[in-house]
């Protein structure tokens, strides 16, 4: 019985874990990584209309 149940139980746990994290995505710099210089076009800020780095 246990030989049948244990793999099934393991599969259920794995599926539950997958569902639990389904909404999580990874994007952007991770903790400890450096924010580097990059320019954007300022639309509404103090330098509107110009390229600037706000980093």
């Amino acid at each position: 019985m246990n030989r049948v149940m244990m793999p099934a139980l393991g599969l259920m746990v794995a599926c539950a874990a997958t569902v639990g994290y389904a909404g999580d995505i990874e994007s952007g710099l991770k903790k400890g990584e450096a924010a580097k210089y990059f320019e954007v076009k300022d639309v509404t800020g103090p330098r509107k209309g110009k390229s600037i780095c706000y980093r």
Partner: protein
């Protein structure tokens, strides 16, 4: 610093930016000493089409401190590693080292997520302000 990379304009994003605007300092360009500020980067392949919509966000959110900006290229700057499935990516850093990261796929930035990010932002701003006081 609290930075938001966004690919879509939604009511939740506008709400988030509006709430963050009340807890951060006015933006300063890179290289200048400043307290904790924030800026939003909208990623697009059509900056001209997006610009009036971005201005509408600033008006709707009554922004005073957070500048809204556009990056020409929906993929974003490669150094920031914004993945293609992320509708909103939020990074908080101190001395240009990232402390916290939040990423949301399409439709995932809901009211609860906004609340979670605002709470983290308050702690981030508070922590930075207290470390400045200790240093002075």
């Amino acid at each position: 610093m609290i930075n938001i990379h966004a690919r879509e304009i939604t009511d939740e994003l506008t709400s988030l930016v509006s709430q963050l605007d009340k807890i951060v300092s006015p933006a300063t360009p890179a290289g200048r000493a400043g307290s904790t500020h924030s800026f939003v980067v909208f990623l697009t392949d059509d900056p001209d089409e997006l610009e009036p919509k971005v201005k509408d966000v600033a008006t709707k959110a009554k922004l005073k401190n957070i500048p809204l900006t556009i990056y020409d290229g929906v993929a974003g700057h490669p150094a920031y590693k914004v993945t293609k499935d992320a509708e909103v990516t939020i990074m908080m850093w101190t001395n240009r080292k990232v402390d916290q990261n939040f990423a949301f796929g399409k439709g995932e930035l809901d009211k609860d997520a906004v609340k979670k990010v605002v709470e983290a932002a308050k702690k981030h701003v508070g922590a930075k302000e207290s470390s400045k006081k200790k240093a002075s």
